[in-house]
């Protein structure tokens, strides 16, 4: 049998196609007779649509126009609630809200047509900030502007505060962040009364799109087909929004009777689609003089924008992660997602956890300062240990050792030596240096009973030449799904990775393995793949073609297919044994496993320009077994880079609910010249619930860098950093405040 593939850097599946430019993304597709589609959007944040005017200058009779009244089924984007329309009908609730769709074969004329549409909208008073939303002075959503709230915790928090000698308080804020996948969103559709609707596009979750289209057309799901093309980055930004674009392009195709392609340009993609939720977190902490956490009270609020979309689940993850990798006997966490008249905020790597972890990890440094204990020491004294319970009552069953992870990170970064040296040297010159850390965890897979409800399925089939094809809806979006799936299947079946094919996600052929989100693809879907492969072996064992699972799969498969035609097996997710989750009380085993990490950032602050540069970055984590060392390292480095962007450069400027800097020219993401060397180390502790021992990895690296950097800046300058991004302007202001 071949060498095991797991643990080796086997060649990436899509490598050759991508380095030669042969990989096919949605904008690379054309069809005969194809039209282009565009969206006409609301110029205002909130109001009542009184009239739509079509200015003269283009042949309107040649242009396909779709408005809300053209929708054959339900005008609802199917997500958690049913509050978001595909096209605004009477009211608009945020800038850039889609109102009309246009299609024509000539892109230039279409642009002119878009400009010639004007709306007469009677304005209503909007709400733009978390405080305005919470005040309830103007109600723009539901009864109280609150999409969702949670109250979780344990112990007797009030009593602990009454008895505490030391209480540390603080409020922390994080800004919106654009996912900025380099391939803008795009879709193509054909639609007809006989053929139904087929959509091709850039997406993370084919079955989300599938479900939403079925409702939009009022058809049974068999008449809808969704195909994922090569996808040029997602990071959560192609989780929910593609359902909107797919619906739009399908409506245009339906009305025109022609294939229609809609590709967003960069400015439209940045201004109109989802971003990371802005947040505000208030902490109140009771702590003993020797640094034991006695009580945590945390109030976590995220700005969801105008519609509910995925805010309840973003809030859930942020709430559950708000108390971090620490044990505290008394915890109360309140989480609220509020409505504002901004475009809906949505999924972005980390999904609420980076926001609440930023607050906690910055707060931990402030608690340490207040009681005169070193930041790493305060953390060490409070790390959660096996057998202890989390804020929502999850008993930690896995052998977590945060202290060892932290020690490794401190060693790799020469933390103690540098901390002392910077303290001595930060007295002269016009630069200051600092070093800071963050310790954190990230739960993999859907929260609580989420995976039970998804009940994901993976199918594998043997081919006539003894190869195996993997059928799943889990998408390759750059993170390496196809490569690790080949490794997992190959090792289970004792085949070479070259013998594994990965089918293109196409709802006409692949089962629903769930969305490609929440760090679940490797751990949850990979495990299903492992099980499906075992089931495939059992089919061959039951038929007598294979004597045992360790037998030679290939000839058995060839013989079986020759005799019987089709060799297939599937596996469906089964609730984890011994795991309990109470949806009502929001209590229990929140995640199947957690990845654990300690990150250290070293910075230089220029006191004349207020620029902050990250000079060194150490990322130590335990993600179970590493399936593919190069891909896993790439996931950590890429996530750290995005988080450095969030911490220092990426500033969404809001003007009346609209992103004012919706260009790559003025929304600044890190270039290759901006980043430090990112040093990655994995502590490998195999997790028995994951394929080959792996846990989730993708979101983890988004959580730690911002607080580590903020703590380093605080160390360098003495500024009490309370928010990110730390742009030069923001730091200048903080330094001014510190001087007064």
């Amino acid at each position: 049998m071949p060498d095991p593939a797991i643990g080796r850097a086997v060649p990436r599946r899509d490598g050759v196609a991508k380095v030669t430019g042969r990989a096919r993304y949605i904008d690379d597709l054309t069809m005969p007779g194809m039209l282009h589609g565009v969206t006409v959007r609301s110029p205002v944040a909130r109001g009542i649509i009184r009239d739509i005017r079509y200015g003269s200058g283009v042949p309107w009779d040649e242009i396909t126009v779709v408005q809300a009244s053209d929708i054959p089924g339900r005008n609802v984007v199917a997500l958690i609630l049913e509050d978001q329309p595909y096209l605004a009908d009477e009211r608009v609730n945020h800038p850039e809200e889609p109102i009309l769709l246009l299609a024509h074969r000539d892109k230039q004329m279409l642009e002119e047509a878009r400009r010639l549409v004007t709306f007469d909208i009677e304005p209503l008073d909007p709400v733009f900030t978390i405080d305005e939303a919470l005040s309830g002075e103007r109600v723009i959503w539901g009864d109280d502007n609150i999409f969702k709230s949670y109250l979780v915790g344990r112990g007797d928090v009030d009593r602990a505060f009454d008895e505490a000698a030391i209480i540390v308080e603080g409020a922390y804020e994080t800004g919106a962040q654009e996912q900025l996948y380099i391939e803008p969103n795009g879709m193509m559709a054909v639609a007809g009364p006989d053929s139904g609707v087929t959509v091709w596009g850039s997406m993370q979750c084919p079955y989300y799109v599938h479900k939403s289209l079925a409702g939009l057309f009022g058809w049974s799901v068999e008449r809808i087909r969704v195909v994922q093309m090569e996808t040029g980055g997602g990071f959560g930004g192609k989780e929910e929004y593609p359902s909107v674009i797919a619906g739009h392009v399908a409506l245009l195709a339906w009305k025109s009777g022609r294939p229609v392609k809609m590709i967003y340009d960069r400015a439209e993609d940045m201004a109109a689609t989802t971003k990371r939720h802005p947040s505000r977190t208030r902490h109140r902490t009771a702590v003993s003089a020797d640094g034991r956490l006695l009580a945590l009270e945390i109030d976590f609020v995220i700005d969801g924008g105008a519609y509910c979309t995925l805010s309840p689940v973003v809030l859930s993850r942020g709430t559950i992660h708000a108390s971090g990798p620490y044990f505290c006997p008394n915890i109360r966490i309140r989480g609220r997602a509020v409505a504002t008249n901004a475009p809906p905020h949505g999924a972005f790597r980390g999904f609420g956890a980076p926001q609440s972890i930023f607050a906690l990890e910055r707060h931990m440094d402030r608690v340490a300062l207040a009681i005169g204990v070193a930041p790493e020491e305060l953390r060490r004294r409070n790390f959660i240990r096996p057998g202890q319970v989390s804020a929502v009552g999850q008993v930690m069953r896995d052998p977590v050792d945060m202290s060892a992870i932290l020690s490794r990170a401190l060693d790799m970064s020469s933390y103690h030596e540098k901390r002392g040296r910077f303290d001595r040297e930060n007295v002269r010159g016009r630069t200051r240096r600092g070093i800071g850390l963050a310790t954190f965890m990230h739960g993999a897979g859907f929260t609580g009973s989420g995976e039970d409800h998804l009940a994901s399925i993976v199918t594998v089939e043997g081919t006539r030449d003894g190869r195996v094809r993997v059928l799943s809806a889990s998408t390759e979006i750059g993170q390496g799904t196809n490569t690790i799936f080949a490794q997992i299947a190959a090792d289970t079946l004792r085949l070479d990775v070259e013998d594994i094919e990965i089918a293109q996600p196409d709802t006409a052929f692949v089962p629903n393995s769930g969305p490609t989100v929440a760090s679940r693809t490797c751990m949850v879907v990979g495990r299903l793949l492992e099980n499906a492969c075992r089931n495939l072996q059992h089919v061959l064992i039951d038929s007598g073609h294979l004597t045992s699972a360790s037998g030679d799969f290939k000839p058995a498969c060839v013989a079986y297919v020759e005799e019987r035609g089709t060799l297939r097996a599937s596996a469906q997710y089964q609730p984890r044994e011994g795991a309990h989750w109470d949806d009502e009380r929001y209590e229990g085993d929140a995640y199947g496993s957690y990845a654990w990490a300690a990150y250290v950032a070293e910075v230089t602050v220029d006191l004349d320009t207020y620029e902050i540069h990250v000079d060194d970055f150490v990322a130590v984590q335990e993600v179970g077994r590493v399936i593919h060392p190069v891909l896993a390292t790439g996931q950590i480095e890429g996530g750290v880079a995005q988080a450095i962007g969030w911490a220092l450069y990426e500033d969404v400027v809001w003007r009346e609910g609209r992103m004012a800097n919706s260009q790559m020219t003025n929304y600044i993401m890190p270039t290759s010249a901006d980043l430090p060397t990112i040093r990655v180390h994995f502590e490998e502790v195999p997790y028995e619930g994951g394929p080959g021992g792996a846990k989730g990895i993708g979101e983890l690296p988004m959580d730690g860098p911002a607080p580590a950097i903020a703590n380093a800046v605080a160390h360098a300058t003495g500024v009490d950093v309370r928010r990110v991004p730390l742009t030069p302007e923001a730091l200048a202001q903080m330094l001014e405040v510190a001087r007064v």
Partner: protein, 160 residues
């Protein structure tokens, strides 16, 4: 803008190109839509991201900012012209080996930028690699694996 079109002839990926187009059409669109060379990508349309990088007369340019008329008589190399048949360029091999490509949308431009960097400077320092690739944005990798790919290709020796 007038509707007048112009015939433009150039050398592309070792062959000849001959298109009828508006003189101010973006070279990116001419490549993608008229010549069906879709390996060149559009990420921003304003010269910031470098996904549309090509070599024009030996210089790395953003094809979204180049009017088609500038291609007259020029020598163009796109990502489709980097490999020799099935034989990948050393930079392409290194990108696969080192994990330099993730989602792949910046990769064609990044491969051209890396090959161009090595052609001009066969043994760049890490700082030279950092600044040499800073016109090409990647949102997936954090660039570290791309730097590793450039170093690996450099050690292999890149054909010029």
């Amino acid at each position: 803008m007038s509707d007048r079109t112009l015939r433009i002839r150039f050398e592309i990926n070792g062959g000849s190109g001959d298109v009828e187009t508006h003189p101010m059409a973006r070279l990116l669109d001419v490549l993608r839509e008229q010549l069906h060379l879709t390996g060149t990508k559009e990420g921003c349309g304003e010269g910031e991201c470098g996904a549309c990088s090509i070599l024009l007369n030996g210089r790395l340019v953003n094809s979204c900012l180049i009017p088609a008329v500038h291609a007259e008589g020029a020598k163009i190399v796109t990502i489709e012209g980097v490999a020799t048949g099935d034989q990948l360029h050393a930079v392409q091999r290194a990108f696969i080996e080192c994990g330099g490509a993730q989602c792949g949308i910046c990769t064609p431009g990044m491969v051209l930028a890396a090959a161009d960097l090595l052609a001009r400077n066969p043994s760049p320092t890490l700082d030279e690699i950092r600044s040499g690739l800073s016109g090409n944005l990647c949102r997936c990798t954090g660039y570290m694996r791309i730097f590793a790919a450039v170093v690996t290709a450099m050690r292999e020796g890149v054909p010029t």
